[in-house]
C-alpha cells in the first residue's frame, strides 16, 4: 500500500508471527524484571552500559550547559558583587561555629580516647555537582558528576549546605546515583534535638512530605522540632540536620502518631552537594539468641490476642 516492496505475500515464510514474537519477548522481559528485582544480577551489565552511554549523555547535555554558561557569563557585575557579599557574610556568620567545632572535635577525640570509643566516620568529603535528575517518574534520584573515579562508594551520605539530601545508592565509573530523602524506599534514622527521642524518617514519594513512622502517640515531639541523624544505622554520621517536624496528628485509636516533616536541605533544588566520607565499619551485629526470638514471638502473639 505504501512503499513498493513493503512485504512479501503471506505465503512466503517470514519467521514467527508477531504474536509469537510478542509472547517470546514478553516472557523474556518478565524474566528479566524478576531477575532484576530479586537478585540484582544485572548490576554489572548496567555498569558496562553506563560506561558506553556516559559520553553520549555528556554530549547530549552540552547545549544546555553551554546556554547556562553563556547566561551566567552575562550576569551583571552588580549581581555578582551582591552574591559575593552574601557569601562573605555567611562565611563570617559561620565562623564562630566552625572555630568552636574545631575545639569540640579535639575535645571529643580526647574524650573518645579516654573512653576507648570508636570514631564514627572519617571526616573526608567530596564536593559534587548534580548532572541531572533521574528520568524515572517513580523514584526520587539524581545523578552527580563523580563516581568510582573519586572513590565514592554506595552508602555514603550526601548533604548540602543546610542538611541531609540523601545517600549514594549506585556508583558508576564517572558518576553516581543519589537516592533523595523523598524517595519512597529511603529511610533515615533520626533523633529529635530537643528531647533525644529516636525515630525513623521515611520518604513518601514525589511531592509528599516525608513521615516519621512507628512513633508512639505519646512520644515527646512537637511541631517545629528539628530532627538530626542519630547515626545508629552506620550509614549516616550522627548529628546532621535532616528535617523539621511540620505536622503532628495524635490519634489514640491508632498504634502510631502521624507525623510529617519538612526537609531542611534543598532536596530537590540544590545543585552543589557534598558526599561525606565512608562510615567507619561498625562491629558486626551480635546474633540474636534463640530464647529472645521465641519470647518476641510469644509477646507478638499476646499482643495480637489482646488487640
Amino acid at each position: 500500500m505504501r512503499a513498493l516492496p513493503v512485504e512479501p505475500p503471506a505465503f512466503f515464510p517470514r519467521g514467527p508471527s508477531p504474536l509469537a514474537r510478542l509472547a517470546f519477548f514478553g516472557l523474556v522481559s518478565i524474566a528479566l524484571l524478576f531477575a532484576d528485582t530479586r537478585f540484582r544480577y544485572l548490576e554489572s551489565v548496567r555498569q558496562v552500559a553506563a560506561i558506553v552511554l556516559y559520553p553520549l549523555q555528556r554530549i547530549v547535555q552540552m547545549p544546555g550547559a553551554a546556554l547556562s554558561y553563556v547566561g551566567t557569563y552575562f550576569s551583571s557585575q552588580r549581581e555578582l558583587a551582591d552574591h559575593n557579599a552574601a557569601l562573605q557574610r555567611r562565611l563570617v556568620e559561620q565562623g564562630p561555629a566552625v572555630q568552636g567545632y574545631a575545639r569540640l572535635q579535639l575535645e571529643s577525640a580526647q574524650l573518645k580516647g579516654l573512653l576507648a570509643l570508636r570514631d564514627h566516620y572519617e571526616a573526608a568529603a567530596t564536593a559534587v555537582e548534580v548532572l541531572y535528575t533521574g528520568r524515572d517518574p517513580f523514584a526520587q534520584k539524581v545523578f552527580v558528576d563523580k563516581g568510582a573515579d573519586a572513590a565514592i562508594a554506595p552508602g555514603q551520605a550526601v548533604i548540602d549546605a543546610d542538611g541531609v539530601v540523601g545517600q549514594v545508592t549506585r556508583v558508576f565509573p564517572f558518576m553516581a546515583e543519589v537516592t533523595l530523602l523523598s524517595d519512597k524506599d529511603h529511610a533515615v534514622p533520626v533523633q529529635v534535638v530537643r528531647t533525644g527521642v529516636r525515630s525513623v524518617l521515611f520518604g513518601s514519594g514525589a511531592g509528599r512530605a516525608p513521615e516519621l513512622r512507628f512513633t508512639a502517640p505519646n512520644a515527646d515531639i512537637a511541631v517545629g522540632d528539628v530532627l538530626v541523624t542519630s547515626g545508629i544505622d552506620g550509614t549516616y554520621p550522627p548529628g546532621l540536620a535532616v528535617a523539621q517536624v511540620a505536622s503532628l496528628e495524635r490519634d489514640t485509636g491508632q498504634m502510631f502518631a502521624r507525623i510529617t516533616a519538612r526537609p531542611l536541605a534543598g532536596v530537590d533544588r540544590s545543585t552543589h552537594l557534598l558526599v561525606l566520607g565512608p562510615a567507619a565499619a561498625l562491629p558486626p551485629r551480635p546474633e540474636e539468641p534463640v530464647e529472645v526470638e521465641s519470647a518476641k514471638k510469644g509477646a507478638r502473639g499476646k499482643a495480637r490476642r489482646g488487640g
Binding site: 512503499a3 513493503v6 519477548f25 522481559s29 548496567r46 528520568r135
Partner: protein, 179 residues
C-alpha cells in the same frame, strides 16, 4: 502517482506510492529518539516531554515493518532501561507490546486523517505508559503524580509533525511529465 498540486506539508495520500524508507534513515531517527529521551529537561518541559523513542518506534512499525518489529522494539526498550537506570525489562516489555499494537493497527491506521491517527496513537502510547506503571506499582513504587498522563498526549500531538517530516525523504521526486 504524485499529484503536482499537493502541498509538501500534508502527508502523502494513501494512493501515492512512496519510495521505501532507507534502513540508515530508520536507524538514524531511532538513535535520535533515544538521545532525545536521554536529554535532561526541567520544569514544564519535563512534564510535557513525550517518549520520543516510543513515538518513532510506533511510526516505523507502521511505515517500515520490514525493519522494525517486536524484536527491535524490545532491544531498544532494554537500551532505554539501561539509559534510565530503572528496572531492567520494563521499557522492553512496554515497547514490545507497543510494536505488537502497531502491527495490529498498521493496516487501517493510515486510512484515517492525521488527527484521527493521533487519537489512536495516544491510546497506544497510553497503553505503553500504563504497562510501565503497572510493572512499577506491582514492584512497590508509589503512584506517580497526575503529570504521568501528559507524555502520551503530547506524544500524540507530535504524531502529525513526525508523519509529515519523516515521509519527506520517501516522497517521489516530481517526474518530468509533471512539469
Amino acid at each position: 502517482m504524485a499529484r503536482p498540486g499537493m502541498s509538501p506539508l500534508s502527508p502523502a495520500p494513501p494512493e501515492e506510492i512512496l519510495r521505501p524508507a532507507a534502513a540508515w534513515f530508520v536507524l538514524l531517527t531511532l538513535a535520535l529518539g533515544f538521545v532525545g529521551n536521554l536529554l535532561p529537561f526541567a520544569g514544564v518541559a519535563e512534564v510535557l516531554k513525550p517518549d520520543f523513542l516510543a513515538l518513532l518506534l510506533l511510526y516505523w512499525c507502521i511505515q517500515a515493518p520490514r525493519y522494525v518489529g517486536v524484536g527491535v522494539a524490545w532491544l531498544l526498550g532494554l537500551l532505554m532501561d539501561v539509559g534510565d537506570a530503572t528496572l531492567f525489562g520494563q521499557h522492553a516489555l512496554a515497547y514490545a507490546v507497543l510494536a505488537y499494537g502497531a502491527e495490529y493497527f498498521r493496516r487501517r491506521v493510515l486510512r484515517f486523517s492525521l488527527w484521527q491517527q493521533a487519537a489512536q496513537v495516544a491510546l497506544l502510547l497510553g497503553l505503553c505508559a500504563a504497562i510501565v506503571l503497572l510493572i512499577r506499582v506491582v514492584g512497590g513504587a508509589p503512584l506517580p503524580r497526575w503529570t504521568y498522563a501528559v507524555p502520551p498526549l503530547s506524544g500524540a500531538l507530535l504524531w502529525p509533525v513526525i508523519s509529515v517530516l519523516l515521509q519527506w525523504p520517501q516522497r517521489p521526486v516530481a517526474s518530468a511529465s509533471d512539469l
